[in-house]
């Protein structure tokens, strides 16, 4: 094997060539992000080994299975209604680890700080991280700090990584979605994205929507206690529920159908989406998951979710079907059907 990416072996080099530089959409969690992973990172790092892309990687070690995940946080502004970059950095990685069914045991935290960042700001962020880690019952065990020149890091960036232990008998990954599985959504969507957007320069608008940032490993634990054989879990962050559903449909090569009317959208989120021309299904969440559960486990999982704070409003939004493999179809409130696709990059407010 060559020790650099084999350009000729790329399964589809064309899309990357469309942009000869990184554009902002490459980080948006949509198609452009997916293409980077699929055509650059996976071929370079996995060298032909079978790989299944999931929120966390899992691997067997003596005595059990570990889950490992990492995520970087570059949110602007640093503080927003319902949270800040600090609790996001803890909850986000806790959730990525939890989506393999694992209970997180430790996190790392890497700080990239901009010269001139007020110490009070850093202090507030660190306090928020500590509080989030305490609430999640996960320790921040190791870390690193770098400082870059003024103007280079939007105040601060944080990277966290987390490890966790996957309970025996749990096998959760996207390719396990099967026809007949119910698709569960753990609660109302769109709050994090709208809360952040409403405070971003150039888009400020008045809303009382707060980020839903929350750790989900407790919810996952009670779901697994109720029913061990959950097929897929995914936290619906960047790209929203749409991206989660589309990635799972592609990964498992199954069709998905969901009822638009079944998806809970808080009125204030619906209003913001309406005037910005956005789709709530595409907006980032930081405390919501989708679960694919076979029919025999559905009642048990739903009951367990409803008794947990993070799953009180859980509902079934759709099901996995044999038809149209790889494609997600929405049934509209009026009973028509339409194909739902992963957003390309960033969500763009429409002109009118």
């Amino acid at each position: 094997m060559p020790d650099h990416p084999d350009v000729e072996a790329w399964s589809c080099p064309l899309p990357l060539r469309d942009y000869d530089r990184i554009v902002i959409g490459h980080g948006g969690g949509g198609k452009l992000s997916g293409e980077l992973i699929e055509h650059l990172f996976v071929p370079a790092f996995n060298r032909g080994r079978e790989v299944e892309l999931h929120d966390a990687a899992t691997f067997d070690v003596e005595g059990g299975r570990l889950a490992f995940s990492t995520d970087s946080y570059v949110v602007r502004p640093l503080f927003f209604a319902g949270g800040c970059i600090g609790d996001l950095a803890v909850n986000g990685t806790v959730n990525d680890v939890a989506m393999s069914g694992a209970q997180p045991i430790a996190l790392s935290a890497g700080f990239i700080l901009e010269e001139g960042l007020p110490m009070a700001t850093l202090g507030a962020v660190v306090a928020a991280m500590a509080a989030a880690a305490d609430a999640a019952g996960v320790g921040i065990a190791t870390g690193d700090t770098k400082v870059v020149d003024a103007g280079l890091a939007d105040g601060m960036y944080i990277n966290t990584a987390g490890i966790g232990v996957v309970p025996d008998g749990v096998d959760i990954r996207p390719s396990r979605a099967r026809a007949g599985d119910a698709v569960i959504l753990s609660g109302p969507i769109g709050e994090h994205g709208v809360a952040v957007m409403s405070t971003r320069e150039g888009l400020e608008f008045g809303t009382d929507v707060r980020s839903d940032s929350a750790p989900l490993h407790g919810l996952v634990a009670v779901m697994l206690d109720a029913f061990r054989d959950i097929h897929v879990l995914r936290d619906a962050t960047r790209g929203g529920v749409t991206a989660s559903l589309c990635e799972i449909a592609t990964s498992a090569h199954v069709g998905l159908v969901f009822e638009e009317r079944a998806v809970p959208v808080p009125p204030a989120v619906a209003a913001a989406c309406s005037f910005l021309g956005l789709d709530a299904m595409n907006i980032a969440n930081e405390g919501k998951l989708v679960a694919f559960v076979p029919p025999e486990g559905l009642d048990a999982v739903m009951n367990a979710m409803h008794e947990h704070e993070c799953g009180r409003d859980a509902c079934v939004i759709g099901r996995v079907v044999d038809d149209h493999p790889g494609v997600v179809v929405a049934r509209t409130a009026f009973g028509a059907r339409r194909v739902v696709d992963v957003p390309l990059g960033e969500q763009l407010p429409r002109i009118c």
Binding site: G202, T250, V327, V329, A333, F334, L348, R350, I351, C352
Partner: protein, 382 residues
């Protein structure tokens, strides 16, 4: 949520569908002029649930789609300058000019910012006196008042670092161009409600009389659109052609007169190129000469840029209702939202993008290819 739930009610929609079905005896082709209406129709699947004999033709009312390539190239040129903060509505960033888009300009170091209101761009100019702030003032009569207000404010504040790149378009001349085209199949129009909220309904009476075609001023929520369709069909079946206002909660006959005065002050009517259609006489607004100091084309000397359109893209025929998006050979193969040939594939309001997004399942064999991509292949590759 007031005005969201009420106008999305499935039971009321079902009764409107039933009523349209009941009164329809013949085939009719109805054009919704506004891109927002197209979006609502496709997103909710309204076109799938109407009687087969009613055909909806998606009109030229997406401002992003009809902005000519030459203007976008001017925007790219201005946005590339190091001293410029270039402000735009979000969905203009992805519209390709000749070879690149504003996202790429941004990735190459251009300071390109998405704003929701042109007044935010004025504020940026106030906050950054050392930079040249340019706002990309596109759109129909709907967005024009805020854009005019931005220029007006900048003039009042005597800002010397604010300018606008104007490419406004007007709905009535477009309806006239479509209705007078020998190839037109349009039997009735849904006029764009928000345009009329600014301009009123008076401009449309003469069009109804001249072409003998019903025009119904229509809103954007699904029930608004259905009510507009019902009223057009009722007129067509009765053999009448009058102007009706089905969006009375927003639109009055005289419109927003203070906004109109502002528009008269800041803009003047001009001939305008429409992407995919060509030049339509007296179909646009440009900055009035008394505001030359705020004219970005003059300030940055980009007036001479003039770029021909792609000859593979049939968006002109789509915008005129002569073909459906999926009837274009390039649809879903060479032309996708990922790699658009024309602007109708770019904006989420564009007819081709709306079709691509929502209707690929049954759009035809050429499109199935893009659905059968295995996980290993890039989706919708060009």
């Amino acid at each position: 949520m007031k005005y969201l739930d009420e106008f999305n009610d499935p039971e009321l929609a079902a009764s409107l569908f039933a009523e349209i079905e009941r009164i329809t005896t013949r085939p009719w082709a109805i054009m919704e002029v506004c891109g927002g209406q197209t979006h609502s129709i496709i997103r909710n699947g309204i076109d799938q649930l109407l009687p087969d004999t009613i055909e909806l033709i998606h009109g030229p009312g997406c401002p992003v789609c009809v902005t000519p390539l030459g203007v976008i190239d001017k925007a790219l040129e201005i946005a590339s300058r190091p001293d410029v903060i270039f402000c735009s509505f979000g969905d203009m960033l992805r519209v390709p000019g000749s070879g690149r888009d504003l996202f790429q300009v941004k990735s190459e170091g251009g300071d390109v910012r998405v704003v929701y209101s042109p007044l935010d761009a004025v504020k940026l100019a106030t906050d950054h006196p050392d930079r040249d702030v340019v706002f990309f003032a596109i759109g129909f009569e709907t967005t024009a008042p805020a854009n005019a207000m931005a220029v007006h404010l900048a003039a009042r504040q005597e800002l010397t670092n604010f300018s606008v790149l104007v490419s406004h378009v007007l709905v009535p001349p477009a309806i006239q161009a479509i209705a007078s085209s020998p190839a037109s199949r349009v039997d009735g129009f849904l006029a764009a409600g928000h345009v009329c909220s600014v301009m009123g309904t008076r401009q449309y009476g003469p069009l109804v009389e001249r072409f003998g075609i019903p025009i119904v001023v229509t809103g954007f929520e699904p029930l608004d659109v259905l009510e507009g369709i019902r009223r057009v069909v009722a007129q067509l079946e009765a053999g009448t052609a009058v102007l009706e206002n089905a969006y009375e909660r927003v639109v009055s006959e005289e419109g927003n007169t203070p906004a109109q005065r502002m528009l008269d002050d800041v803009f003047e009517v001009c001939d305008r190129q429409w992407r995919g259609i060509g030049e339509i006489p007296a179909s646009g607004w440009r900055l009035a000469p008394r505001y030359d100091d705020f004219n970005a084309e003059l300030r940055f000397g980009v007036g001479a840029i003039d770029t021909p359109e792609s000859d593979r893209c049939r968006s002109g025929e789509v915008l005129q209702g002569l073909i459906k998006p999926h009837q274009c050979e390039a649809f879903g193969t060479d032309c996708t939202p990922r790699s658009p040939l024309g602007a109708t594939m770019v904006s989420s309001e564009g007819a081709c993008a709306a079709y691509y997004q929502y209707r690929r399942l049954d759009a035809g064999p050429g499109v199935e290819v893009s659905l059968r991509q295995p996980a290993g292949a890039g989706s919708d590759r060009a």
